[in-house]
């Protein structure tokens, strides 16, 4: 029964790298791939793969599917944790727990294979649209970073070597001369000791997040990163490799694999997608419609605080700055306000301040743009809580997350204006002090028994 046997084996490498030969001989054994690596000096072993190229490896069809589902559970768990606003330490623990629970394999020797196979199978699933690629890229990079931080210093160094980055450690003399300035890279108040201080000089472009947070010293375009910050550098590398690879996989999938595999893999991939990728909000289906006349009522009963606040300000000032227009506008779109109604709604307010003519000339465009009718014609989705929490409102701005961006007294005022009773307000303030911005919003809504629709966005 050679034919069916070979049908149930998938040669991973053939889909994911340029090699195209599908193995025809019935291989009943799985080849194991040794991904463990040893550094030259001491035998450091790391089991964290970089997924640089798909292994020549055969997989049983059922594993193809099962492994992918297990990995998806991990990525989904991370995604949920992040959107709940968990702190970095909590996230790291969560990710490692998810990994241990889901990525086991009865045979110890196959743990690494499961890791690699599941990763490459998910690439097939998630290569197909920009939205999917973006999500997968973020989650895999996050996962990689948590796992990297979990490795010992020696194996981190070995992994770094594997990226073949041309960066050298800062020498002793230079270190001494910059000692004070390098303090900024430390995560705690401990002064730098020469012994544990290994710094690398890298182009600042490679560590954007460290630059953004002013967590590195910069000189003439070079960022001085401490050994505990290396994760940021390899994270960026990992991300950019994977990003390019996903584009290639997509090309290969649409040009050949989907057709070649239409009886075997394609149905599995498509089934996996529909059952595990969650609802697709980019397609306008199943939404209740909201009309202009309902908005006031809805705002009172069901809007989350940030939208309520923006809405109130819009009614008050007949104007919102760009950030506010985007946050509220896309939210209204998300809850089902049609384009024509959106124009009517915004025009009614803005024309009282700037006149109808200026509204048509200067503001209507960006509303149509949000609905994908202008410019690059992307159908924009509402901002996530994460995005709103991380936004940075400036002078004259009213957008952002009230729980994060308001002073305590303004937040209290805003909450009581919504009719929240004082005990609930105190509850919320507690949460806020602990930086659980999103949870505080959620809690409040449960208490008020109203719709927390923004949580699904």
């Amino acid at each position: 029964n050679r034919a069916s046997e070979s049908d149930s084996l998938v040669s991973l490498g053939s889909f994911l790298i340029a090699r195209c030969t599908l193995r025809t001989q019935g291989g009943t054994k799985m080849e194991t791939v040794r991904s463990q690596r040893k550094s030259a000096q001491n035998d450091v072993v790391s089991t964290l793969p970089l997924y640089r190229s798909a292994p020549v490896l055969e997989v049983r069809l059922e594993d193809f599917e099962l492994f992918a589902i297990d990995r998806l559970r991990v990525l989904k768990g991370i995604s949920d944790g992040l959107s709940r606003g968990k702190k970095p330490e909590e996230m790291e623990k969560l990710a490692m727990d998810l990994w241990k629970t889901n990525m086991r394999h009865p045979q110890a020797s196959n743990v690494v294979n499961k890791d690699i196979i599941s990763h490459f199978v998910l690439r097939l699933l998630y290569c197909r649209t920009e939205e999917l690629r973006k999500w997968f890229l973020s989650m895999e990079t996050a996962l990689f970073r948590y796992r990297f931080r979990h490795e010992s210093l020696e194996s981190q160094r070995a992994l770094m070597a594997e990226f073949e980055l041309p960066y050298k450690a800062v020498g002793n003399a230079e270190f001494e001369s910059l000692r004070d300035k390098l303090q900024v890279s430390r995560s705690n108040a401990q002064p730098l000791s020469t012994a544990d201080a290994i710094f690398y000089k890298v182009p600042f472009e490679e560590v954007p997040e460290l630059v953004a947070g002013r967590r590195v010293f910069l000189q003439k375009g070079l960022a001085y990163i401490a050994s505990n910050q290396v994760v940021s550098l390899v994270g960026t590398q990992f991300r950019s490799h994977l990003s390019k690879a996903l584009i290639l996989t997509n090309r290969k999938w649409t040009s050949t694999v989907r057709e070649q595999e239409k009886d075997r893999l394609t149905p599995i991939v498509e089934a996996l997608c529909s059952s595990y990728l969650g609802p697709d909000y980019s397609q306008p289906k199943g939404f209740a419609e909201v009309s202009v006349k309902d908005i006031d009522e809805l705002a009172k009963s069901s809007f989350p605080l940030c939208m309520c606040h923006l809405f109130g300000k819009l009614r008050e000032d007949h104007h919102l700055k760009h950030g506010g227009r985007m946050q509220l506008g896309l939210f209204l779109k998300g809850v089902g306000l049609k384009l024509d109604d959106a124009i009517t709604f915004w025009k009614a307010e803005f024309s009282r301040k700037v006149g109808a003519e200026r509204f048509d000339k200067e503001y209507a465009y960006s509303i149509r743009h949000n609905y994908g009718r202008e410019g690059k014609r992307t159908d924009y989705t509402p901002y996530s809580c994460q995005k709103i929490i991380l936004s940075t409102p400036g002078v004259g701005d009213h957008h952002g997350c009230p729980y994060r961006h308001f002073s305590e007294e303004n937040l209290r005022a805003a909450l009581s204006k919504m009719g929240v009773n004082s005990r609930a307000v105190e509850d919320v303030m507690d949460k806020v002090r602990n930086k659980h911005y999103q949870v505080s919003d959620y809690h409040l809504y449960i208490k008020m028994l109203s719709v927390s629709m923004h949580l699904d966005i």
Binding site: D180, K181, Q183, V184, R186, N188, A189, F204, E205, P208, E209, V211, A212, G213, R214, F217, L218, Q219, K220, G221, L222, K321, H322, R358, K361, E362, Y363, S366, K376, R377, T392, P393, G394, V395, G396, D397, H398, G400, P402, H405, F406, S407, N410
Partner: protein
């Protein structure tokens, strides 16, 4: 960006001298300006970045993929204009006579032909290069200046812009290693900055955002008192340098007395709000409320010294108050960037040497090394320039315009000698060296 510009643009012009040629939007003046004064060729050379066809390694399509956009007299907005040569650019400007010219990114394909690529779905039409730009606008400082508000600027608040130029310029050079930086007066109430190094032009949006965030200290919004928060166990070297070399002095020597930051109850209460310690606040308030104007010293300086003494004297050195003095100084002086302009490649920014349609002032370059000497109230206006042209009579014409004898002359000479020439020199070197590398590589493959 356009919305911003217009949102803030409703106020009347302010800085304006009395001139014989009347100010305002007179298209005939613009026509003369574009005909005789505007440095078309310099702008084209700049935007070509050395790709002038003289070297075999040049990219002939480069300049033609740049987006220009024109705002015409009646708010007609022409986006995605592109040109294949200096003369095409010049002719179009002269013909359309825009009251404002904006410069956008270099796209992957000629922006005028973008529709041909729209259907392919693969997003072929996408920005690939763009200067790193910054936009600093005086309206964002309204809560810390008492001399004017909105679109008004005067010599009492202009130092805020001087501070911004000094701080951002130093950091772009020393921290980020950029060399080719152009500062431009925006024509009314702010400044623009163009970072033109090849490395800067190729930054991704994420990297641009990271730089903008590096500069962001001000976190104030309408719903929070505390505008600045200096966290972390050590202050970043960039902030330490900014504070010691620029902010502290400007605050104490300039803004404190000229803006009279402590002169009334309302003003000092705003500063007291930034101190997180009730006992310190009430002690200071007590001193200030029944203040008899006894000493001849400036009351603002006296009160500031008292506040500093309270916060920095040994016994009050509590953790939370550690950086309070610095936070106050940062709140009143530190640059406030329009973040969105810097974060994305496809933001448009007004071209240098445009004439601001409301003030009539030319967007002239500012020398960052002498930025404290820059005076927005003496920047040449369109009407002044035209008068100078009229008076000039028989003056020797330079080959590319008649600006030489006008008050625009120094600005154009500065633009060329301090910015354009060094920039083009390094562009040519880069084209040469990447061409050689390519040659070398193809030789190597041949020998295989």
């Amino acid at each position: 960006m356009k919305n911003r510009e217009i949102e803030n643009g409703r106020d009347e012009m302010v800085i304006d001298g009395g001139n014989a040629v009347p100010e305002g939007l007179n298209l005939n003046y613009f026509k003369v300006y574009y005909g005789k004064l505007f440095p078309h060729a310099d702008i084209q050379k700049w935007m070509s970045y050395g790709n002038d066809g003289k070297h075999p390694g040049c990219d002939h399509t480069y300049f033609g993929r740049r987006e220009f956009s024109f705002t015409l007299e009646n708010d007609i907005y022409l986006r995605f204009q592109s040109f294949n040569s200096a003369s095409e650019l010049e002719n179009s400007i002269k013909e359309k006579c825009p009251v404002k010219i904006d410069i956008g990114p270099v796209y992957s394909v000629d922006p005028a032909k973008r529709h041909a690529y729209a259907q392919t779905g693969d997003n072929v039409f996408t920005p690939v290069e763009r200067e790193l730009v910054f936009d600093i606008d005086m309206t964002d400082y309204d809560d810390v200046r008492y001399c004017c508000s909105g679109a008004d600027v005067c010599l009492d608040c202009w130092p805020l812009m001087t501070i911004a130029i000094k701080i951002i310029d130093t950091a772009l050079r020393d921290d980020f290693g950029f060399n080719h930086i152009l500062w431009v007066y925006s024509g009314r109430r702010g400044v623009h900055c163009w970072v033109c190094d090849a490395r800067a032009r190729r930054l991704t949006n994420e990297q641009r955002a990271a730089i903008a965030d590096y500069f962001r200290v001000y976190k104030g919004n309408e719903n929070n008192h505390k505008k600045v928060s200096l966290t972390g166990h050590v202050l970043h070297p960039f902030l330490v340098r900014s504070y010691n070399e620029v902010l502290k002095n400007y605050f104490e020597m300039k803004l404190l007395p000229t803006q009279k930051l402590f002169s009334t109850e309302e003003r000092y209460e705003k500063i007291l709000e930034m101190i997180p310690d009730e006992s310190v606040i009430s002690e200071l308030r007590g001193k200030w409320q029944d203040n008899k104007r006894s000493s001849k010293e400036d009351i603002n300086i006296v009160r500031w010294e008292q506040l500093k003494h309270m916060l920095q004297s040994g016994n009050k050195k509590v953790q939370g108050l550690r950086r309070c003095v610095e936070e106050i100084v940062f709140s009143f002086t530190y640059p406030r960037l329009d973040m969105e302009v810097s974060k994305h490649m496809n933001h448009l920014l007004k071209a240098p040497f445009c004439v601001h349609p409301k003030t009539g002032r030319v967007c002239v370059p500012i020398d960052p090394n002498k930025c404290e000497e820059f005076d927005p109230t003496t920047v040449p206006t369109l009407s002044k320039l035209l008068e100078e042209l009229n008076m000039g009579g028989v003056r020797q014409e330079v080959e590319d315009g008649e600006w030489d004898g006008t008050s625009l002359g120094n600005s154009i000479r500065f633009f060329r000698s301090s910015f354009l020439q060094p920039l083009l020199k390094s562009c040519k070197e880069e084209i040469e060296s990447s061409y050689n590398t390519k040659l070398q590589r193809s030789k190597n493959t041949l020998s295989w």
